[in-house]
């Protein structure tokens, strides 16, 4: 048994034994937990990945005459100003006000530019009062010009992050990167065996051995602190709320990014030293990639609870490929696909190494936590949902492909509809005809349904959210989609009128 004070004394004397979590694995393997616990004093951890929930409080100082800033823009990115006269919070995922720039230069990019010492344009408008006569202000500032720039990140350093794949027949753009159609890749995130919370976790009590409020950490190349549990904290999916001084940070460990067609985000290097106070802590610090279970979810399903595709671990994910058993068009198939990381293990290592060096050099002492992390809770929002099945026109009016165009026209008129799904003998969808297709057929003197029907039909499922169907309709510029079951049998049709009636009724 050691204490943090004893370890700090050793650090000051230059006698502490400090190793990274990767090195600890080897030590425990070779010498056993007991010996490792005896002579290792500190294990350093690290992670480097997209941490969307990050941002910076800035105090700009007062202008003359003073202004109470209400709408605040930094390089055209809005910062939240409902704090006080000249304070603002800039969040990493805030897009640009200019739609042409939008997510390519967002809050994260402002933060990185500040750390890089670049000049930022501050534009703010206010409402005038007796103390604050000024209406607007427009100046160029650097990080040196502001009073405080305090990074406060409500949710960083996820203990484990679920991996992602995509069942749809099209590419999708997510915060886990670009996911290829039909489960053709798996993306994952996280430092696994180097992850801070993972190395400090006690699975029996579902709590953390040493990390708590007040734990001194490496944040973005500077010194920061854990100020509590993060939002959505729910071990073994624990998260942290952290703070640090942006003025101390290093652009190497604070990197703005834009997930393609998704949004801007900030990659942050975060590292935590774990004092090896006893054997239990030593043992956990030897956790390996293969010991950490990672679920893989289908991001192609536009629902909150995404289907679980498989369970794996970081070792398999890091090997570069994985074999999945998946269902493609009703058939169960085995598929070996490439895995790609969204976070950087190489940089996570660098974080752990840098922190180790700081401690060995006596520049960084460990702190005692003042309290454990707070309450675990991650429950879904109580939000209403409308599914396709709720607004479906039923029974479906469909037709076989051997009918004449005249007959198709009659069906449309008789039922007062614009979309006619064409089905085979089993009722499975083979195409669709709209009234526009019929008008075109007349003009172009086409004779058969086969000639004029659209074969590549955009479809929907009964348990799909209506919102998602609306997105599809506007994306493909269509006004109706057939609803099919798992065998592609048509069970109904949803049109843009059905959807607008729904929204019209609610307001």
């Amino acid at each position: 048994m050691k204490t943090i004070q004893e370890i700090n004394e050793k650090i000051k004397k230059g006698e502490a034994v400090v190793v990274t979590a990767e090195e600890m694995i080897k030590i425990v393997e070779e010498e056993g937990v007991k010996k490792a616990a005896d002579y290792v004093d500190v294990v350093t951890t690290g992670t480097f990945g997209a941490m969307c929930s990050s941002g910076v409080f800035i105090n700009f100082g007062h202008s003359d005459p003073p202004i109470k800033m209400l709408k605040i823009y930094l390089n055209n990115v809005e910062a939240y100003g409902g704090l006080a006269a000249v304070d603002a919070y800039i969040g990493a995922t805030q897009p640009n006000e200019d739609p042409d720039v939008d997510i390519d230069y967002g809050g994260a990019h402002v933060i990185e530019d500040l750390v890089r010492g670049k000049e930022i344009e501050l534009y703010a408008e206010g409402y005038t009062t007796d103390c604050y006569p000024r209406k607007d202000v427009n100046v160029k500032i650097t990080l040196d010009d502001v009073n405080q720039a305090i990074m406060v990140n409500p949710r960083n350093g996820y203990q484990t992050y679920a991996a992602a794949t995509n069942s749809r027949d099209e590419k999708i753009y997510t915060y886990m990167g670009v996911l290829l159609p039909e489960y053709s890749n798996v993306h994952y995130s996280g430092a696994g065996q180097l992850n801070p919370l993972q190395n400090d976790y006690d699975p029996e009590t579902k709590s953390f051995n040493t990390i708590g409020i007040g734990t001194r950490i490496f944040l973005g190349g500077g010194i920061g602190y854990v100020i509590g549990e993060g939002t959505q904290h729910n071990p073994p999916f624990g998260t942290l709320m952290v703070k640090g001084d942006l003025k101390q940070m290093d652009p190497k460990f604070i990197r703005a990014a834009t997930m393609p067609k998704y949004g801007s985000t900030l990659y942050i290097g975060l590292g935590i030293p774990i004092p090896v106070l006893n054997e239990k802590i030593a043992e956990r610090c030897a956790i390996r990639d293969e010991d950490i279970e990672v679920p893989i979810y289908d991001y192609g399903t536009p629902r909150r609870d995404r289907p679980l595709i498989a369970k794996t671990n970081y070792k398999v994910l890091r090997s570069g490929k994985i074999t999945l058993r998946v269902n493609i068009e009703g058939r169960e198939v085995e598929k070996t696909v490439k895995t790609g990381s969204v976070s950087s293990y190489k940089m996570a290592r660098e974080v752990a190494e840098t922190l180790k060096k700081w401690i060995l050099d006596g520049k960084f002492l460990l702190s005692e936590r003042v309290d454990t992390l707070g309450r675990a809770e991650n429950k879904p929002m109580k939000s209403p949902i409308t599914l396709v099945r709720d607004i479906l026109s039923k029974p479906p009016i469909t037709a076989q492909r051997n009918i004449s165009i005249m007959e198709a026209a009659k069906i449309l008129i008789k039922h007062n509809i614009n979309h006619l799904p064409i089905v085979d003998e089993q009722g499975r969808l083979v195409g669709i005809i709209t009234s526009w297709d019929i008008a075109k057929a007349l003009a172009q003197n086409k004779k058969t349904i086969e000639e004029i029907m659209t074969r590549n039909v955009v479809t929907a499922y009964e348990d799909e959210p209506v919102d998602h169907v609306a997105v599809k309709m506007s994306k493909y510029n269509i006004s109706g989609v057939p609803v099919v079951d798992n065998y592609r049998r048509v069970v109904g049709v949803v049109t843009s009128e059905d959807i607008s009636r729904l929204f019209g009724g609610k307001k």
Binding site: N185, A257, M259, P260, Y267, K338, S341, V342, S344
Partner: protein
């Protein structure tokens, strides 16, 4: 082996099937990565696949009808910007990107066919495909 070239042909040759002739006469395989044909001039990026000899023959033949410049690299990666995450890795249709044992993301540059998938997926805009 593979060799990639920029190729400009002058207007008098635009109507000749220069590329097809090169293939027929030398036995080289040609992958057209980019082609811009205008009334006065055509500009192409070609990938020649074959033995060293056939490629040399093909280059000779092509030179008769236009100007050849070798491309040593198609991908330009800004190593200051790249954090070796791996978001680009699964996007490559020909497995020209991989992660080495030290967790560096490595590009096998001579295999790249310039499809730009990796470029479009990189969150740091670290990749440029030279055109």
């Amino acid at each position: 082996m593979r060799k990639r070239i920029y190729y400009w042909t002058a207007s008098e040759h635009i109507n000749k099937p220069v590329i097809a002739d090169t293939v027929l006469n030398t036995g080289v395989k040609i992958n057209i990565l980019k082609a811009k044909v205008e009334p006065q001039e055509a500009f192409l990026i070609l990938e020649l696949i074959g033995s060293k000899e056939t490629i040399e023959k093909a280059l000779d033949y092509l030179s008769k009808f236009g100007e050849v410049e070798e491309i040593s690299k198609v991908i330009k990666r800004d190593l200051e910007k790249c954090v070796h995450c791996g978001c680009c890795l699964t996007q490559c249709p020909i497995d020209a990107i991989y992660m080495d044992e030290e967790y560096n993301v490595v590009f096998k540059e001579d295999e790249c066919v310039g499809c730009k998938n990796c470029m479009k997926a990189c969150p740091f805009k670290a990749i440029e495909i030279i055109e």
